[in-house]
C-alpha cells in the first residue's frame, strides 16, 4: 500500500471520515540547483562529488554570501541541507587560514553530537585540519586544556559558553582567531531565553574585540516571519536572509483530524493517535508519531503494540518508542533499524523533533498542535523522502488553539510564520549580563554603552549603589560576593532556587514562584510519576522537605492577584475602544490551597507566604459602555463574560506572537481602578517583560477577531476546555459566562462608542507561572 491508499482509507472508513476535517494537498516541487560565484577548493569539491551532492540554489546563495564576508541567516525548511551550506565555507576557511577558529552553538547535546560526527567525517575525508571537538558540561577536565589549545571548531551550548567567558584568558588563542560563530536552531533563542542569549552574544563579541577578532555570524533557523529583525536583535548586526528553498519535495497530504468533531470526544486523543499509527503501519508507511510527553510516548507505544499483536507479532515488534532518557546506544540502534526498515513506527516526544537522526519517513502523526507553526512545519517536514508522496496528520486536542484550527482549516494552512520575539533592553536581563561582563573585563562606559544599549548608564549607577560594581581608574570592576555567572541563569529561572529534598536527597530545584505554587507546605507534589507530600518549606534556607506518600487526593493553590498600573507608555484606539500599553506591577499572593479528590473539594487550608511582586509590561483595555449595557440588558453575567474573554484572548496569543500561553498572565475586573471600569489586562509573566504584550498590542484587532471566532465556533453550551476554560485558572474557571463572553468579544471586534460603567469584583486569571527574568 502507498500513501495514496492510506489517504483514501481516511476518506472512506466511517470512523475516520467523520473526524477528518480537511485534507490539504501540497503539490510536488522539483529541485533547483545553483551556481557558486567562485569554485570550491579541490578537497571540498571531491567530498561533494564522492557524497553525490549537487548544491541547491539556497545553499549556493548562503555559501556566496558567507564567502563575501556577510552575516547570513538561513531559514529554509528541515532537511533542506542547511548544515552543509555553512560547513562548506567554514571548512574552506580552515584550509586557507591555518589559524582560523569557529564556534558552533547548539541548543541540545544530541544535536551537538550529531554535528560533531558530521564534522569529523568531513574533516577525515577532505583532510582539512578542522579538529572539531565538543566542549560542554560532559567534557572531562583532563581533556579541556587540549581542546582549548588545539580544537579549531569548538561545538558547545549557550550554558557552557556562559561559564567559559569568565575563563577567557585560557581561551585567548581561540578568541583571538575566531572567524565564524555558527548558531544552529537559532529560533529556539526567543522570549526570555533568547533575550539572555542575545546578551551572552554581546559579551562574547566584547571579548572578541578585546582579543582583536571580529567573527562573522551564520544563523540557521526554522522559518520565521521576521528573520532579519530577529537576527539583528539576537546578534546586533545586519544579516542577509537566505530563504529560497531549492531542495525538491514530493506531493504531501496534510490532514486535519479532530477527535472532538462532535464536541464530545468519545475516545482519548491518544487512543485516536494510536489507531492512526496502526493504520499507517499496516499500510506499510514508515511513520513517526510526535506526542506531548515521555509518558504518552510510552503509553501510545504499548497500546499500539498490543493492538498490532492481534494481527501479527512481527508488526507489533516493528513499533518502538524513542524518547529522551534512552541511552545513546539504544537511540542509535532505533535509528539504524528505522533506516533498515526493521522498524515501521516510532513514537517520539515533541522535544525530540530536532534531535532525531532518521532522515525522512512516509508519514508523520502530530498528536496535538505543538504550539507554533514553526514546530508543526518542522515535525511535518519529517515526512517525504526522495520526492515521494507523504502524509502528515495533525490530531487535535481539546484545547482552544487546536480546536480553532479544526474549525478554521483555511486559517491553518494560510498561516504565516510566527514573529520570534526577544528583548535586548529588558533591564533585569541586561543588568545581569552587565555583572557577568564586569567580572570578565572592567566595564568602560564609552565603549560598553554600545554593547548593552540605552539602559546601560542608569543601570551602572544602580548596580554601583548596591556595591556590586566599583568605579576604578580602569573601569567598573565587579565586586559582588558571589559569582555573577551563578546568579544569572540563562533559562530565565532566577538564581534563587529552592531545593526539594527527600530524606536529604535532592529531587529537584525550583524557582521561588514555582515553589510557592507547587511545593508549599501540605502540597501534594508529583516528581517523575511518584507522589510526595511537602512537610516543610523553609524560606530562610530555600529548602523544601518532602516524603513519599500514597494518597488519592491532590492539592490546588489559591492565589490572589493585584495589579497596579505604574506608567502608561502608549495609547491607541481599536474599534473605538481605548487600549493602552505600559508598565504594571503585579502582586501575587498564595492564600491557601484546596484539597481535592477528583472534582470534589474535600478541604481548604490556609497558607501564609510572602507576596510575590514583579514589574512587567501589559496591555489593557476598557470595555465600551454600549457592550457592557448589552450584557446587562440580556441579564448575563458581566464578570463571567470578561473572565471568559480574557481566557479566550490569552488562548489565542500564541497564534500571533511566538509564545506559550503559560508565558502570559491576565486579570479581568468588572470594576477596575478609581473609575471602576470593566477592564481586561494581559501581561508578560516575566520580571521586566519580554515583549509579548508589546507585540500583541500591535495586533489587537486580529487578536480580538480570532478570540471571537474561537468561542463563537465552539459547539459547547456553557464553555469548555476548547474555548473559555483555562487549564490552570486560579479561580477554577469561576465565574464564566459563555454567552456574555461571545457578546463581549463580538463587541471588541466592532466599532462602538465608549462610555462609563460600574461594577464590583476582581477575577484574576492565574494560569501563568511567573519567572523573574534573571
Amino acid at each position: 500500500m502507498a500513501v495514496a491508499d492510506v489517504v483514501r482509507l481516511l476518506g472512506v472508513n466511517p470512523v475516520y471520515r467523520k473526524r477528518v476535517v480537511h485534507i490539504e494537498t501540497i503539490e510536488p516541487e522539483p529541485p533547483r540547483y545553483g551556481t557558486l560565484a567562485a569554485p570550491l577548493p579541490e578537497t571540498i569539491e571531491a567530498y561533494l562529488k564522492e557524497s553525490g551532492i549537487r548544491l541547491y540554489t539556497h545553499q549556493c546563495d548562503a555559501i556566496n554570501g558567507i564567502r563575501d564576508g556577510r552575516n547570513v541567516i538561513i531559514t529554509t525548511p528541515t532537511a533542506s541541507g542547511k548544515t552543509l551550506a555553512f560547513n562548506i565555507p567554514v571548512f574552506e576557511a580552515m584550509e586557507t587560514d591555518p589559524e582560523a577558529r569557529a564556534l558552533y552553538l547548539y541548543p541540545t547535546k544530541a544535536l551537538a553530537n550529531d554535528q560533531f560526527a558530521t564534522l569529523e567525517q568531513m574533516a577525515k575525508f577532505t583532510g582539512i585540519a578542522a579538529k572539531p571537538a565538543i566542549y560542554d558540561g560532559d567534557t572531562p577536565q583532563s581533556k579541556r586544556a587540549a581542546i582549548r589549545e588545539h580544537a579549531r571548531i569548538v561545538i558547545s551550548n549557550p550554558y557552557e559558553l556562559h561559564q567559559v567567558l569568565s575563563w577567557h584568558a585560557k581561551w585567548s588563542p581561540f578568541f583571538s582567531h575566531l572567524r565564524y560563530v555558527v548558531i544552529d536552531e537559532a529560533h529556539r533563542y526567543r522570549g526570555v531565553f533568547g533575550s539572555h542569549i542575545a546578551l551572552l552574544i554581546r559579551r562574547l563579541l566584547r571579548l572578541c574585540r578585546y582579543y582583536g577578532s571580529n567573527p562573522q555570524f551564520i544563523l540557521s533557523t526554522a522559518t520565521l516571519k521576521n528573520p532579519e529583525e530577529f537576527a539583528l536583535r539576537l546578534v546586533g548586526r545586519q544579516f542577509d536572509v537566505i530563504d529560497g528553498d531549492g531542495s525538491p519535495h514530493g506531493r504531501k497530504h496534510f490532514v486535519l483530524y479532530n477527535p472532538f468533531f462532535n464536541g464530545i470526544g468519545e475516545r482519548s486523543t491518544h487512543e485516536e493517535t494510536k489507531d492512526l499509527l496502526i493504520s499507517c503501519v499496516k499500510g506499510d508507511l514508515q511513520t513517526i508519531c510526535f506526542v506531548g510527553s515521555r509518558k504518552m510516548a510510552e503509553l501510545v507505544t504499548v497500546w499500539a503494540r498490543e493492538d498490532a499483536r492481534r494481527s501479527s507479532a512481527l508488526l507489533a515488534d516493528s513499533i518502538s518508542a524513542y524518547r529522551a532518557g534512552y541511552l545513546p546506544e539504544e537511540r542509535r540502534m532505533i535509528e539504524r533499524e528505522l533506516k533498515e526498515g526493521v522498524i515501521k513506527g516510532v513514537v517520539a516526544t515533541n522535544a525530540l523533533e530536532l534531535g532525531i537522526d532518521i532522515g525522512s519517513l512516509d508519514a508523520v502523526i502530530i498528536s496535538g498542535y505543538p504550539g507554533t507553526m514553526q514546530s508543526t512545519r518542522q515535525q511535518a517536514g519529517r515526512a517525504g523522502r526522495k520526492g515521494g508522496d507523504s502524509l502528515a496528520v495533525l490530531v487535535a486536542h481539546a484545547n482552544p488553539l487546536d480546536q480553532y484550527f479544526m474549525h478554521h482549516p483555511a486559517r491553518f494552512f494560510s498561516r504565516s510564520h510566527e514573529h520570534a520575539v526577544l528583548d535586548t533592553e529588558n533591564p533585569y536581563i541586561v543588568s545581569g549580563h552587565m555583572l557577568c561582563a564586569a567580572a570578565e573585563l572592567p566595564l568602560k562606559e564609552e565603549v560598553d554603552r554600545e554593547v548593552f544599549g540605552s539602559t546601560f548608564s542608569p543601570l551602572l549607577l544602580d548596580l554601583a549603589s548596591s556595591n556590586l560594581i566599583r568605579n576604578t581608574s580602569r573601569g567598573w570592576v565587579y565586586s559582588g560576593r558571589s559569582r555573577a555567572t551563578d546568579a544569572v541563569r540563562l533559562d530565565g529561572m532566577s538564581g534563587e532556587s529552592f531545593r526539594i529534598l527527600c530524606h536529604g536527597k535532592l529531587l529537584e530545584t525550583m524557582d521561588r514562584a514555582q515553589a510557592y505554587r507547587e511545593a508549599h507546605k501540605g502540597a501534594i507534589m508529583l516528581h517523575q510519576g511518584e507522589t510526595y507530600v511537602v512537610n516543610e518549606m523553609d524560606l530562610e534556607t530555600h529548602t523544601v522537605r518532602v516524603t513519599k506518600t500514597d494518597v488519592d487526593y491532590y492539592t490546588q493553590p489559591l492565589k490572589e492577584v493585584n495589579l497596579a498600573v505604574k506608567k502608561t507608555l502608549e495609547h491607541r484606539t481599536v474599534n473605538g475602544m481605548a487600549c493602552s500599553y505600559g508598565d504594571v506591577e503585579v502582586t501575587e499572593q498564595y492564600t491557601g490551597y484546596k484539597i481535592k479528590r477528583k472534582d470534589t473539594v474535600i478541604g481548604i487550608e490556609p497558607l501564609s507566604l510572602p507576596p510575590l511582586v514583579f514589574r512587567t509590561k501589559a496591555f489593557w483595555f476598557i470595555l465600551p459602555q454600549p457592550v457592557e449595557q448589552r450584557v446587562r440588558d440580556a441579564c448575563l453575567d458581566l464578570a463571567g463574560g470578561l473572565h471568559g474573554a480574557e481566557h479566550a484572548i490569552i488562548a489565542m496569543m500564541p497564534l500571533h506572537v511566538m509564545c506559550d500561553r503559560r508565558d502570559i498572565g491576565g486579570l479581568a475586573s468588572p470594576a477596575y481602578g478609581e473609575n471602576t471600569e470593566p477592564t481586561i489586562f494581559v501581561y508578560d509573566g516575566y520580571e521586566g517583560g519580554i515583549g509579548l504584550a508589546e507585540s500583541a498590542y500591535e495586533h489587537l484587532p486580529e487578536l480580538f477577531s480570532s478570540a471571537y471566532e474561537l468561542v463563537d465556533a465552539c459547539s459547547c453550551e456553557e464553555g469548555c476546555p476548547a474555548c473559555i476554560h483555562s487549564p490552570k485558572c486560579g479561580n477554577d474557571n469561576v465565574p464564566l459566562d459563555k454567552l456574555a463572553t461571545v457578546m463581549i468579544l463580538k463587541g471588541l471586534c466592532k466599532t462602538e462608542n465608549k462610555g462609563e460603567s460600574i461594577g464590583s469584583a476582581v477575577y484574576p486569571d492565574t494560569e501563568i507561572s511567573v519567572h523573574p527574568a534573571y
Partner: protein, 361 residues
C-alpha cells in the same frame, strides 16, 4: 522599545540574589557527614561566633580612621597607589645540605628516563648504584648524562622539572631543589579575595627574607580601585634574578587567581617561576598522621600555634564587604591578622619540611 526606567530596585534584587548564593555552606556542628558535600563549609557555631565578632569589631572601631588603625606606608606605581603594612618576624632559617641532597638524587636511578622499578632491580644487581655509574651503560648512557648535566648546571627550575617529570610533584626531591636558592629568592604568597574566582583580590600577603628575618608586606585595598597598584607592587617582589614562589595550595588557588586578575586588567601575566606548594609536600609527609592538612590544623599540630579571634577564610568576603558598605575599618582587623598569620605559618612550615628532609644543623 520603551525601556523600563531603571530604579535601585534592580541593584537591590541582585544584591539579595548574591546573598542567597554563598560560596560556602553552613553545617550543623559535628555533622561530619555534611562536610562531604562540599569542601567549602563553615560549622554553624563558627559562623555564629564570626558574626558576633563582626558586630563587636564594628562597635569597637566605629569612627576610627583607616590610617590610624593600619599605620603602613603608601606605595605608588603605574597602577596607582595602595597601602602596604609591613611586619617583621624572626625565623630560624634552615640550610639545605646540598651535598647530601645531590648524593640522594644520584642514587635514584629511576630519574633516568626508561628506568622503572623492574629495571632498577636488574641494574642494581649488576652493580649500577648511582646515575654516574650509568654513564657506562650502553643503553642508558645518553639519558644518564643528561641528568648529570642538568644537576651540575644547578638551575633549580630545570632540576625541578626533571624530577617532576619522573616523580610526583610532592616528592621530597622536588622540595630539596629549594637548596639551590638563596633565602632572599623566596616569595611567600597568600591572598585574600572577595570570593572564588573572577572577583577582586582585597589583600595580598607577601613574605620575603631580609637579613635573616621574615618580612611580611601586606597590600590592603582601601577600595577596589587600588587592586591594580597592589598587583604591581606584589609582582615587584619577584624582581630578583631567580625568584621562587612558595604558597599553601597556591597551585590551584593563589597563582591562577593572580594570573586571572592580571589578565582582567590587561597586564602582562607573571612569567613562569619555580613554585613550591607546601600543601602538597605536607599531604605527603603527614598523610596518615592528621585527618586535615589545612594550614590551620598543621600550624597547631606542628608549629604549636593557636590563633585567637581568627575568622574562617570563607567568611573574609563578608567581612570586607561590610567594610566597603559601612566604611568601618573594624572588620579589616581580623582579615589582616588572619592573612599575616597565614604567611608566617607558611614560611615556618616550609622551613620545617625542608629541615626535616635536607637540613644541616
Amino acid at each position: 522599545m520603551n525601556a523600563i526606567h531603571a530604579s535601585n530596585r534592580i541593584g537591590t534584587l541582585w544584591q539579595q540574589r548574591m546573598d542567597a548564593l554563598r560560596d560556602y555552606e553552613v553545617i550543623r556542628d559535628g555533622n561530619v557527614f555534611g562536610t562531604s558535600f562540599s569542601n567549602r563549609f563553615v560549622y554553624s557555631s563558627e559562623h555564629e561566633r564570626a558574626h558576633q565578632h563582626l558586630a563587636r569589631l564594628t562597635e569597637q572601631y566605629d569612627g576610627v580612621a583607616f590610617e590610624t588603625l593600619f599605620s603602613g606606608k603608601e606605595v605608588s606605581n603605574e597602577g596607582g597607589v595602595s597601602r602596604a603594612l609591613v611586619s617583621r618576624h624572626s625565623l630560624s632559617l634552615t640550610h639545605v645540605d646540598v651535598e647530601r641532597y645531590r648524593q640522594d638524587i644520584l642514587t635514584d636511578l629511576t630519574l633516568v628516563r626508561g628506568i622503572g622499578d623492574v629495571t632498577l632491580r636488574r641494574l642494581n644487581a649488576r652493580g649500577y648504584v648511582t646515575i654516574a655509574d650509568l654513564v657506562a651503560h650502553p643503553k642508558f648512557r645518553a639519558e644518564a648524562r643528561g641528568v648529570l648535566e642538568c644537576l651540575s648546571r644547578g638551575d633549580p627550575a630545570e632540576i625541578m622539572g626533571m624530577i617532576g617529570s619522573r616523580h610526583a610533584k610532592s616528592h621530597p626531591f622536588v622540595l630539596g631543589t629549594a637548596g639551590f636558592f638563596e633565602p632572599e629568592d623566596f616569595v611567600f604568597l597568600d591572598i585574600e579575595t572577595l570570593g572564588l574566582f573572577s572577583r577582586p583580590i582585597i589583600l595580598f600577603g607577601v613574605g620575603t627574607i631580609e637579613n635573616r628575618e621574615l618580612v611580611v608586606h601586606q597590600y590592603l585595598l582601601r577600595d577596589i580601585d587600588e587592586e591594580p597598584a597592589a598587583l604591581i607592587a606584589t609582582l615587584g617582589h619577584f624582581a630578583r634574578d631567580r625568584p621562587a614562589l612558595v604558597t599553601f595550595n597556591g597551585k590551584s588557588f593563589d597563582y591562577p587567581y593572580l594570573q586571572d586578575r592580571l589578565t582582567y586588567y590587561g597586564m602582562d601575566t607573571a612569567r613562569r617561576i619555580p613554585h613550591f606548594d607546601v600543601l602538597h609536600f605536607s599531604r605527603r609527609r603527614w598523610k596518615d598522621e592528621f585527618p586535615s592538612h589545612c594550614l590551620g590544623a598543621l600550624e597547631r599540630e606542628i608549629l604549636g600555634i593557636n590563633r585567637k579571634d581568627d575568622i574562617p577564610g570563607q567568611m573574609v568576603p563578608e567581612f570586607y564587604e561590610t567594610y566597603l558598605r559601612t566604611g568601618n575599618c573594624g572588620p579589616l582587623v581580623p582579615i589582616v591578622e588572619h592573612n599575616r598569620q597565614d604567611v608566617v605559618s607558611l614560611a615556618f612550615l616550609f622551613y620545617h619540611l625542608l629541615g626535616e628532609s635536607y637540613g644541616c644543623r
